[in-house]
Amino acid sequence: MTQHLLFNNIDEPGLDTLDVYRRRGGYGDRLRKALTMPPEALVEELKASGLRGRGGAGFSMGMKASFMPKGAMDKYLVCNADESEPGTFKDRELMQKNPHLLIEGMIIAAHAAGANRSFIFIRGEYDQQATILEAAVEEAKAAGLLGDNILGTDHSLELWVHRGAGAYICGEETGLLDSLEGKRGNPRLKPPFPANQGLYQGPTLINNVETLATVPIIVELGGAKYAEIGAEGSTGTKLISISGNVKRPGNYEIELGTPSREIIYGLAGGPPDGREIKLWFPGGSSSPVLTKDDLDLAYDFNTLAKAGTMLGSGAIIVVDDSNSVVDVALWTAQFYRHESCGKCTPCREGTNWTVKMLERIQTGLATPMDLDIMASVCENIIGNCLCVLGDAMAMPIGSMIRKFRGEFEEYIEAARERNPMVTDEPAPEQSLLQGALV
């Protein structure tokens, strides 16, 4: 049985209120203990826990906190609750059902980072969740858990909930900061990293909801004890969002290192009867896809990285064999084309051209050479932009072409035969507008 740290009794009635949360030990001894520890000791504890960021990049939370400069200045803590990676919906359930766990985590993390102002950047679509969070923040403020001199210590923290207005790119940390400053959410050039120059040019620590919500648990258990859970290099438990063609989609808490087959077939029930898995995204739509041959991989950061993909935000999307890989590729590419902010040319144009080529495949106007062009477009996006949005399209599309090339070619052939306009004679002259951005 998996230890349930974040989802422990998650549906308890009234858990989103201060009374019930306190009865379960929230805002109690562990908060007092954390606030009386020196910040450096707290950072060491986080490092010892081996906690890696749960938002997608998987960077060590303790290391990130240790990059914050010392000294008296305005420092900020920002909670990234934008959660817009397709397939991810774990933070939503956590914030809706246990908002105080996140707030307590932010109080502790802000103490570790020396921050005295903090924001929760929640995506605008999560209207009901934002309302619950705002109510929880008000409750905590009224109880003296936010504001000046929390629990009689000299740690003070202001916390506000900021609602976004619908843009995937605002989940990227520097895009998020620009959006929080009231601008278009364009990513910034890095370095300088947010730990040096972030929000309002001040040092800023940015973490995902799940990462911050784990912090109180680490303080309670102790870093070394937490590090015993999970796998080597991927400690702890993780919330997994499973969706797509499975019988029981939803959020599950697993111990990192659990075999993928056990998650997809055991917890989520596998694909509908009579169907087989064709491909699955292990970490949101940005991760290179895996096939049914990869189901025995252990689900942790390092194993998936070795298999050429990534754990990302922990969102598994299962596609069964009733779907065409071309459709899945097109849906993926359409999303990134729509969400590209347009700042860097390889991403803006590359996502657009990939969609156009995939549409051409569907209408029967493509030839197998288009697959090579598409693969080269993807190669030219990776690593050439300010942020990884373009890479996030290029990686899964590239992996689909590599792993399902045969199916792509069959599809192209079948679509050409379906389309009466296509013959083996020279292609009809096309309008110059064909390639324009329309």
Binding site: H4, D11, L180, R248, P249, V319, N323, W331, C341
Partner: protein, 206 residues
């Protein structure tokens, strides 16, 4: 539906390109409070947002969202009112608003219905649901039905967000009822609302 491209005079994509510019007008001007009436409730809400942040510009998105709730969309008047309270130019606000999917800079229905068309929802019939729901709602100018990028509720795919209330999975035979509830402003499919859904993890409630 979400892929529509707006066309203006002579098929151009640039609004107002064929109108003569008002040369004496200063484009940088911040609206004058004396000549720009702002509803009191809106002013209070914007000022409350501005007070939260070290830099007042951070309140731009919450302020525009508030103005949109009042006006139904980010109209030129909405931009002028927000700009007047925030002491920014309307052009700055327009530049911000056009970036975000939830802020509409064209007149649309006041009731915002988003149907998720991302991978997980498409696998479960989200795109067909969008077409069916748009047909069922019909030509109601008060309702905006549009495809939207991942709304973060793939566990209830295919799903719909009705003014922020998530419902799903929406079955084919529920589309007409949902359309009626949207038109009448009723609570959409109360049994299928996400907020009432319990965790599916069998060990989460032990």
């Amino acid at each position: 539906m979400s892929m529509d491209v707006a066309r203006f005079g002579h098929g151009s994509r640039v609004p107002g390109w064929d109108e003569a510019p008002e040369l004496p007008k200063n484009p940088q001007e911040i609206p004058d409070p004396a000549t720009t009436p702002v509803p009191e409730a809106l002013r209070a809400e914007i000022e409350q947002h501005m007070a939260k942040y070290p830099d007042r510009r951070s309140a731009a998105i919450p302020a525009l969202a508030a103005a949109q709730r009042l006006h139904g969309w980010c109209s030129p008047e909405a931009f002028r009112q927000v700009a007047c309270v925030m002491r920014l130019t309307p052009a700055y606000l327009a530049a911000v608003a056009t970036f975000y999917d939830m802020l509409d800079t064209r007149p649309v229905g006041r009731k915002r219905v988003y149907v998720c068309t991302n991978i997980s929802c498409s696998l479960c019939g989200g795109r067909e649901l969008l077409d069916k729901l748009a047909d069922a709602v019909g030509d109601d100018t008060d309702v905006q039905v549009r495809g939207f990028e991942c709304l973060g509720a793939c566990d209830i795919a295919p799903m719909v967000s009705v003014d922020g209330v998530y419902v799903g999975p929406v079955a084919d035979d529920e589309v007409d009822e949902l359309a009626r509830q949207i038109r009448d402003g009723d609570d959409p499919l109360p049994d299928k609302q996400l907020i009432r859904r319990r965790s599916v993890d069998p060990q989460a409630n032990q």
